[in-house]
């Protein structure tokens, strides 16, 4: 009897945990008490620290007028595109406007699932000139225009100011090119203290770092619609990147998933490349960190890999009253994304990143915006996710010292070609 009771408790606990997990993945609907106008459903994947920021923007919009009522529904990042796909395939009620990452635009545009905004935009006064050109142009696919940008999130460099000071470096002068980067990294490496100048990750976020160095070398990931992973520029980039571990020894070997983040948090990794979304984590940990544009680690030009959040409208939304409401809301967002900037992101609206004094006073966000002009996105091919998978696996092997960079990239290219010809 006693045994059964105990088992019962364990089972209940397991069930409770299970249902809690269920709750957290349930859709989070923000209740707003504003006016009752035409209802506009808006989906976004902001389940992290950025969620409350977007909620505030929507609530303020709903309070600011009474014609439209925007209903923000946050779908967790991990389930986002699954949910969006189901909506588009007609199995779920589709939203009227939704957030989409730049590297996903092509997948949906190719299947004619997104609304071409060319004429709607001209009529309503949402103008290309009001947004960063880089962000806006990413939505030009096949002569049509699909996106209204919210932000761009390029790779940025974080560095530990205390470690810079201790190494006799100026904490206000982070490196800007390969030579400075290597020299600083070597000075910042103290093997006896397990302290490293730049810990090289072997998995994520190499999806951002490797293309950045490749672009800086003047290389391309795709050429004439074909994978171009083993170009001389790519091999040079990977060799330089791997040498940081094997030759320059400014990084430990065998860094595991998130190992470089842990070391940065522990104050044992002096320089770290990651996305602007990491800011709040550093703030919470109380690190004395600086933010800088990614140094030019490549040999040819300044460039940085980025992704971006965009607003898109499903092709099925045709009701003109709804469309008016959506444009009205998006215009409001463009002028009022200061709130969004507070999560560490840099909005792609010029009203903020070029004109707002408050924005320019911020620590990280203006640095992110500095990179807008030379930021580059993933190649606009369908299924970049699958096509790039072999690349990340082979980069991983090269950085773990299991394969020569040339061989690794050759293999990655071969696999990607197979996928393309399936």
């Amino acid at each position: 009897m006693k045994k059964k009771k105990w088992l019962g408790i364990a089972l209940t606990a397991a069930l409770a945990l299970g249902s809690l997990a269920g709750c957290s993945s349930a859709k989070d609907t923000s209740k707003s008490d504003g006016g009752k106008g035409e209802k506009i459903t808006y989906w976004a994947p902001f389940s992290g620290a950025d969620g409350p920021r977007m909620k505030t923007i929507v609530e303020n919009y709903n309070k600011s007028q009474s014609k439209y009522q925007v209903d923000l529904q946050i779908v967790p990042q991990s389930d986002y595109y699954k949910t969006v796909d189901l909506a588009f395939s007609g199995q779920k009620n589709a939203p009227d406007v939704l957030i989409m990452h730049t590297d996903q635009l092509k997948n949906y545009a190719d299947k004619n699932l997104l609304k071409d905004l060319s004429d709607t935009i001209a009529k309503t006064g949402v103008k290309a000139e009001d947004y960063s050109e880089t962000a806006w142009k990413a939505g030009d696919i096949g002569g049509k225009h699909y996106n209204i940008p919210l932000d761009i999130h390029p790779l940025v460099m974080y560095y530990n100011k205390d470690l810079f000071k201790a190494a006799g470096l100026d904490p206000e002068k982070p490196p800007t090119n390969r030579e400075e980067f290597l020299a600083d990294a070597k000075k910042l490496t103290v093997p006896s203290k397990n302290q490293y100048g730049f810990v090289v990750p072997t998995l994520w976020p190499n999806q951002f770092i490797f293309p950045t160095i490749l672009f800086q070398n003047g290389g391309e990931l795709m050429k004439d619609g074909k994978p171009n992973y083993n170009s001389p520029e790519a091999v040079e980039a990977l060799t330089f990147y791997r040498d940081l571990i094997t030759k320059d020894k400014v990084s430990p070997a065998n860094v595991q998933q998130d190992g470089e983040v842990t070391l940065f948090l522990q104050g044992k990794n002096a320089m770290h490349l990651n996305g602007p979304w990491m800011m709040e984590q550093w703030d919470k940990a109380g690190i004395n960190y600086g933010v800088a544009p990614v140094p030019q680690l490549g040999t040819k030009q300044q460039a940085v890999y980025a992704n971006a959040h965009n607003f898109v409208i499903p092709a099925t939304v045709k009701d003109s009253k709804k469309l008016d409401g959506i444009t009205d809301f998006l215009k409001y967002v463009a002028a009022n994304t200061m709130e969004w900037a507070k999560s560490g992101q840099a909005p792609a609206s010029k009203a903020i990143y070029e004109q707002s004094e408050e924005f320019k006073q911020m620590k990280q966000q203006p640095i992110v915006a500095k990179e807008f002009d030379y930021a580059k996105f993933a190649p606009a091919v369908a299924n970049w996710g699958q096509l790039s998978d072999p690349l990340w696996a082979e980069v991983n092997l090269a950085l773990l010292g299991k394969k020569d960079p040339q061989k690794a990239l050759d293999d990655a290219n071969k696999k990607a070609e197979q996928l393309l010809n399936k």
């Binding site: 395939s89 998933q257 696996a393 991983n396 773990l400």
Partner: protein, 296 residues
Amino acid sequence: MRNSGWKSQLTSSLFVLPYLILFVVFLLIPIGYGAWMSLHNWDLLNPVHEFVGFKNYAKIFDSSSYLNDLFLEGLKNTFQFVVFSVPLLVAVGLGLALLVNALPGKFKGFFRTVYFIPYAVSVSVVAIIWLWLLDTNSGLINQYMQKLDLPMIPWLTDMPWAWISLVIATLWWTIGFNMVIFINALNDVSEELYEAGSLDGASRWQRFIYITLPSIKPTMLFVVITSTIASFNIYGQPFLMTRGGPGTSTKVLLMNIVDEAFKQRQLGNAAAMSLLMALIMIVISVFQFKISNRKE
């Protein structure tokens, strides 16, 4: 008389009903739907799903198709995990059960709970705990290794360590379940048999081999089969701890299926792959069942 028989039949049916409904809604219908999908070219973003018969299955066996690689490589990795983990899941589960059962009354309950608690934790928590412990450069375990002047081990970035780490994390996470099952089985072995054995001069080891093991055989079979199925379904641990690395050495079949379904949006292919995987699991379970019955 007949009336009451009818009534009792109805009552028993009613008791079965809740499970039956759940079974049909959450298992039978999805399986049927999956089988239906597997016969179509089912792109999640295309409104039209054309019927293609067994083409999706044919692609899995066609060595020039990328699906063939995806399936076989994933299957090979999953098989490795099953082979490494199942013997340990059974042996360590039984070992812990014997150990806990040998403890004095009060400790028994305490340790049973202690060993069972990880089972109630979700896989993401398990992965984070082990990621911290096993971190090559800043993890607790390697820190101790360093203090003892032992070489640092690349727990998650080199073979065979990656498998060893995944098996250890899985053992820690799920061993409580097998242990509890074994404890119940051990408690059901009649005390008289042991007494008789002792009187006949059987040693502890002999009593274990000739009394304990044969008595818990049905439970053993149950544990072996459920552990095999559970190990086949491995997904969360490599997904969160190694991301399939180094390279794709720990990218298991379910990871590939999920990629094909939701990154590639090819539900038809993914459904065919998962049904094939289920078929393999069924064959193995039946095989295990047959083998253990033949010995009798």
